[in-house]
């Protein structure tokens, strides 16, 4: 991977999306300009779902093949996902204050996203607390699969229970999302920007974990 051009592209896309969020997108009818928090909150939520889904898949691959590389992939993805889930919770509570007048009211969507965050926090904490590599990989793969249950729980919570949170943005039969095209374009740009940022952070985390693992192997073999 050529790092500098990739990093410059990620920086540029995020700069353009910030311009679209702050200036280009039109104000919304009921919330005015304050709804623009949505363009940071929603892509962060999407990326955390993506990261945790990848953790789920990599955990399955690990249990099937027992190749340590899959374990590292799952771990790196969960760690970066946790970062974006925390951002989702914080920006979501700011938006809740604007829309509902309270930062946290134990709404089903808020509560299920908090459960999602805690499930993967437990996953990452477990990995940090166990030294035995095989045991850590095996148990965390199972945890990565079990924790995945909290993703549909969080995503569909707005449909299952009475909630103040808006329903997930899904296209209608005519492929219309129910928001203005300029807003949809801004959302698309910010989602692409945040997804690329996730991929870069995932790449950095994976390399760091890989280096740490190699050092651990060398230490175990008694070369240091």
């Amino acid at each position: 991977m050529k790092e500098r051009p990739a990093l410059a592209a990620i920086f540029l896309i995020n700069l353009v999306s910030l311009f679209m969020i702050f200036i280009w997108a039109p104000p919304e009818r009921s919330l005015g300009d304050q709804y623009r928090v949505f363009f940071i909150h929603t892509p962060s939520a999407w990326v955390s779902y993506l990261a945790f889904t990848l953790t789920f898949l990599f955990s399955i691959f690990y249990l099937r093949t027992r190749k340590p590389a899959w374990d590292l992939y799952a771990s790196a993805s969960a760690t970066v996902g946790l970062l974006f889930c925390l951002i989702t919770l914080i920006t979501g509570s700011i938006w809740a204050k604007l829309a509902w007048g309270i930062y946290w009211n134990w709404d089903p969507r808020e509560t299920s996203t908090l459960i999602l965050f805690l499930a993967y926090l437990a996953y990452v904490s477990f990995r940090m607390s166990v030294n035995d590599k095989d045991r850590r990989a095996r148990i965390s793969a199972v945890l990565g699969i079990l924790a995945f249950v909290s993703i549909p729980l969080s995503y569909f919570s707005a449909a299952f229970w009475a909630t103040l949170h808006p329903m997930p943005l899904l296209p209608t039969a005519k492929l219309r999302f129910g928001i203005e095209s300029s807003m949809l374009l801004t959302l698309t740009a910010s989602t692409i920007g945040v997804t690329l940022l996730f991929l870069w952070l995932f790449y950095l985390t994976l390399n760091t974990y890989r280096m740490a693992e190699e050092i651990e192997n060398v230490v175990l073999e008694g070369k240091i």
Binding site: D33, L86, I87, I90, I94, T205, T208, M211
Partner: protein, 42 residues
């Protein structure tokens, strides 16, 4: 809090957490390089 302040706060939270995450990764890499250098000191 006006709209600009709000958006500035939310963007700062987003990029601030990304920056903190990068700092955490950097500290991990520093630990690794210290582990690599330690036998040379001995």
């Amino acid at each position: 809090m006006n709209t600009f302040e709000l958006l500035f706060t939310v963007s700062s939270i987003f990029w601030g957490f990304v920056f903190l995450y990068l700092l955490w990764l950097h500290s991990k890499i520093k630990k690794i390089s210290t582990a690599l250098k330690s036998p040379q000191k001995r």
